[in-house]
């Protein structure tokens, strides 16, 4: 899948420094449609900076961000969204007192005359959640009553409303239990089936191996290897992440 096609989203020789601290050094990365790419690395390896560069939260000092092979400047998250790059951050940014439908459509409500069109929104909400195989008891319960995994499904469903081509998930499994993580991994597979490119960051090697097509290892801001998930052992990944030679 990673062969000759033009990647939807790519980084080319991207570097970013914060004062003397070099967060990213000459990083290359590609995300294709129908592909799940995992970026793993220890704390401080540069994962968050990488996500920032991909989603318009920050502009790299050097190098290029390419969308469909053409260089772009992601000066702002809204520019990234306009180019079909959606981001789901660790805090999910949901309003706990609003229900699922209200959260999904917050800021993009469907209206019938001056009033909200709840029927259309609720119907579409169910369709979206069913496509993701997300198990939510009701779309009319406040998000506060949902589990961490269900909230994540809601946040991801919301990112799909703009029909993005690439979805960037920042540390999606960090706050999830075992069962919720399993459900989340199913959800990521659904995203791939829908044709989205998915990039997720993690420091859990096991989660990443279960779902990713390719695994990119970051270490101290540099790419420390790119692996085919199906043919790489846990030990090899661990060695790349920690930098310990065997």
């Amino acid at each position: 899948m990673t062969g000759s096609t033009v990647p939807v989203l790519a980084l080319l020789g991207v570097s970013k420094s914060y004062g003397a601290a070099r967060a990213l050094v000459d990083v290359d990365l590609q995300v294709h449609a129908h592909e799940v790419v995992a970026v793993i690395g220890d704390n401080g390896a540069g994962k968050s900076t990488l996500v920032g560069a991909l989603t318009g939260a920050l502009v790299p000092d050097e190098g290029e961000v390419l969308v469909d092979g053409s260089p772009v400047t992601l000066s702002d998250p809204s520019v990234a969204r306009g180019l079909g790059i959606a981001a789901v951050f660790q805090d999910l940014a949901l309003c706990a007192n609003l229900d699922v439908v209200e959260n999904l459509y917050l800021g993009h409500e469907a209206q019938r005359g001056p009033l909200l069109d709840e029927v259309t929104m609720e119907k579409h909400a169910w369709e979206l959640l069913n496509q993701l195989a997300a198990r939510v008891p009701s779309v009319r319960v406040p998000v506060a009553a949902l589990s961490g995994g269900q909230r994540q499904a809601v946040a991801i469903a919301r990112s799909l409303l703009g029909e993005p081509r690439v979805i960037v998930l920042d540390e999606p499994t960090a706050a999830l239990g075992l069962r919720q993580t399993a459900e989340f991994l199913t959800l990521v597979e659904r995203l791939r089936e829908r044709g989205h490119g998915v990039l997720l960051t993690s420091h859990s090697l096991a989660d990443v191996q279960a779902v990713a097509d390719r695994i990119v290892v970051l270490r101290l801001g540099r790419t420390n290897g790119e692996f085919d998930a199906a043919r790489t052992s846990y030990e090899e990944l661990l060695a790349a992440v920690t930098g310990i030679q065997r």
Partner: protein, 390 residues
């Protein structure tokens, strides 16, 4: 669902506050029955008409408080704003000879201005609202004294329309019943349309008997109120205006984008901003609406008393309005509540006040009891919040 399951789910909804104003409405009925047992005049039509007329002005102020509480803020100066508005109406129309409508507009403009200043302080400088509205309370009370001048009290002629509207204007029986019919028909039509659209969209619907039961309950409730008050003077114009404002605000909070933004900002302003909600404008709208409703409450109060003085909006007006909003079930923590809590809350507070007066107890007892009820309401609010987060 069996009886036990129904009881458990009702208890759960009660614990987390998902039943809305219903529990407080039950408390209101209980209060009515207790006072009736102590003094048979309490539930008389005459007393209830007085009670509703007295509740309207402060109720309008409480409605504004409900809006600021919804965005997670508070306005402690609503009483002072109502007092300044009352002073502007009285001094403008009586002493300066402005047309009455102009004086009323000027008073409302004062409300808009005060709310705009609060909103600017909050959104630009991020000062906590309880601090700058407390400062505003002092400043505005000072301005009220300055506007009233050395005499300190201005009377309005009884024949002026504002006074007649607030004191002696009652809906004609035909008008009352026409409004009841329109409201019930409108509600039924809305419910049925909604149900038909949901069935077409293959969404779950409530059983038909529930829709019918709700419509019948609304019709019966409104009919009882209108018929019973009708045995005396009827539904007061000023009370009808208050209830109309509550209903309109409720519709806007629940069924418009603005209302959704208000609740989102009250729940989590940062998440709302990330979702694309114009958070700053939402804060501005809430503060301006609150101060303007407070000013309107002051205008209605000046009509009801046919006078404005240094005591207008002072004393317990402020605390009564804020207490009514909270007692009615609007959360102090933001993002939860209902416009109806202004109506139910002010009726609770006014019932306690009237009931204790009928028992020949003075203001000291009234303040103590109202304070205790507020304490209970705040405790319940905090417990419900904890239950939701558990």
């Amino acid at each position: 669902m069996n009886d036990l399951g129904l009881a458990a789910s009702t208890w759960q909804r009660l614990r987390t506050g998902d039943l809305g104003v219903l529990p407080v409405a039950v408390v209101l009925v209980l209060i009515g029955l207790v006072f009736q047992a102590l003094n048979p005049h309490f539930l008389s039509a005459d007393n209830l008409v007085n009670l509703t007329q007295q509740a309207a002005a402060t109720g309008v102020i409480a409605l504004g408080v409900v809006l600021t509480l919804h965005v997670g803020q508070i306005d402690l100066s609503v009483g002072a704003v109502s007092g300044l508005a009352a002073a502007v109406v009285a001094v403008g129309s009586v002493q300066l000879g402005w047309p009455l409508w102009l004086a009323v507009l000027a008073a409302l403009a004062v409300g808009v201005l005060v709310g705009s200043i609060y909103a600017a302080l909050h959104t630009r400088l991020a000062v906590p609202s309880f601090v700058f509205t407390l400062a505003g309370l002092l400043v505005i009370t000072g301005l009220q004294m300055r506007v009233l001048g050395p005499t300190g009290s201005v009377n309005l002629p009884f024949e002026w329309w504002l006074v007649r509207f607030c004191q002696t204007a009652f809906l004609a029986p035909a008008t009352s019943w026409a409004i009841v019919a329109l409201v019930v028909a409108g509600y039924a039509a809305g419910r049925v349309t909604d149900r038909v659209r949901r069935v077409r969209a293959e969404l779950p619907v409530a059983p038909l008997w529930q829709v019918v039961a709700r419509v019948v309950a609304l019709a019966a409730g409104l009919s009882v109120v209108v018929a019973y008050l009708g045995t005396n003077r009827g539904v007061g114009a000023v009370f009808a205006l208050f209830v109309g404002l509550v209903a309109l605000t409720d519709l806007m909070l629940r069924r418009t984008r603005w209302g959704r933004f208000v609740r989102a900002v009250g729940g989590d302003a940062e998440a709302a901003r990330k979702a694309g909600v114009p958070v700053r404008r939402v804060f501005v709208s809430a503060f301006v609406a609150c101060s303007t409703l407070a000013a309107l409450g002051g205008v209605l109060a000046v009509g009801r008393l046919a006078a404005a003085n240094q005591g207008s909006g002072a004393g317990d007006t402020n605390l009564t309005a804020i207490a009514a909003a909270v007692i009615g079930g609007t959360s102090l923590f933001g993002g939860r509540g209902s416009a109806w809590s202004a109506l139910v809350g002010i009726l609770v507070v006014q019932s306690i006040s009237t009931g204790l007066t009928l028992l020949n107890l003075d203001q000291s007892a009234r303040l103590v009891v109202t304070g205790l009820v507020l304490a209970v309401a705040v405790t319940i609010d905090a417990l419900q919040r904890r239950a939701r987060e558990a």
